[in-house]
């Protein structure tokens, strides 16, 4: 149980895919032009990540180390294609927004990374939790970057969220700055790099401060 909690913590914050492992930067830059896009991409990736982790963990004793990478790649590519078909068939309106990015999940190295680093060495349950934690960590990161870029770039928050989550969520679609002309830089890829860089610096600062606080309280344990 304690290990599962640790896995959750790792995924959400300590080993966050974007903010700590610096993986998945390609979809991060490409889709985070709005909070809704980030959220949708994050959730789709989470679904693939959990399923691929479970599959990889359940066949881990059958797979020879020599051919594991091609097997994982085939599995992940198949899963992503299935998600692509399913979205296109049942959530067609969302597919029109996210369709271009679904294929990007294949090249998301975080998924192969988790298959290789975690699922191929751990039980099915632990791998599912790891996939969920990493996925939610990614979703949080993408949504946060998306929201900041959307606010600065077009003055709205969660625009078109009802397309993703259903009409009930129209209430969270906010126009924060009415009549805002837009700040193009934030919508274009450089904006993504700027926001990501500032967030990374912020996370580092928080960690450094926490470490300093720990060192002041218990200098002996900080050395360990």
């Amino acid at each position: 149980m304690k290990r599962l909690v640790q896995t959750l913590k790792d995924g959400l914050w300590l080993q966050n895919v974007v903010f700590a492992q610096m993986l998945a930067l390609c979809p991060t830059m490409a889709v985070t032009t709005s909070g809704t896009n980030g959220l949708g991409m994050g959730l789709a990736t989470t679904a693939v990540l959990v399923t691929s982790n479970v599959l990889v963990a359940s066949i881990r004793s059958l797979v020879s180390p020599q051919v594991r990478i091609p097997i994982f790649v085939v599995l992940i590519a198949t899963l992503v294609t299935l998600v692509d078909f399913a979205l296109n068939a049942w959530l067609h309106d969302l597919y029109k927004v996210l369709g271009l990015f679904i294929a990007l999940i294949v090249v998301n190295c975080a998924i192969l990374g988790r298959a290789e680093a975690f699922a191929s060495k751990n039980s099915v349950v632990a791998s599912a939790v790891d996939g969920l934690a990493m996925g939610l960590g990614l979703t949080g990161a993408l949504t946060l970057i998306g929201l900041i870029r959307e606010l600065l770039g077009s003055g709205t928050l969660f625009a078109q969220a009802s397309l993703l989550l259903g009409p009930a969520f129209r209430a969270i679609e906010l126009t924060v700055i009415p009549g805002y002309g837009g700040f193009l830089l934030m919508i274009l890829p450089p904006g993504g790099f700027l926001v990501l860089g500032l967030l990374l610096a912020g996370k580092r600062a928080l960690e450094l401060r926490a470490r300093k606080a720990n060192a002041a309280v218990a200098p002996a344990s900080a050395l360990a």
Partner: protein, 209 residues
Amino acid sequence: MKLAIAGLRDRLAYQGVSLGVIALVASAALAFAVSGTRERIAAAEARDLQASLSQVLPERFADNDLLADTLEIGNGDGSSRRVYLARRQGEVAAAIFQTSARGYSGDVLVLVGIDRAGVLLGARVLKHAETPGLGDKIDLAKSPWILSFNGLSLATLPAEKWAVKKDGGVFDQMAGATITPRAVVKAVKEALDFFAAHHTEILHGGKTP
């Protein structure tokens, strides 16, 4: 069981076979998914097409099924384009088809509706990859710019006026983006030329009178 597999895993044959089995299972799953979703996807795409077709026509303009009433007309270069016919009481009242021109990044795909007299009923950009915030104002969701084409025809606007204002024409260009509106104007003009060239063929629904 586990021990047996542990020994097998180092055999070359086992590795090859296991990779093959995985590939087989994956292809089976994909084949299953394709056949399971094909109808729904086709239906959704038909709905999309229907929706965009009716966007370039005035409301309740046609009384036929646009998707079923089509005509293939050659472009003269071996390719052909599909023309959707909007009929009223059996008579062709308007034609809808796609046209495209090279934009700032890739082709801009425009759908136009043209009535019997060659007057443009409407135009919509179906697909583009223009710069967000600059060139994407050709999209009706972002700006009403594309509506400025409504009601124009080759007869009311001379050929040299089919250009953005910067080039001596009548259409507004966008701040920071001239190439994109230029491409749309070119595409729409091309559509009207195409309609004029195939006028009789379209109005008779493909049948020679």
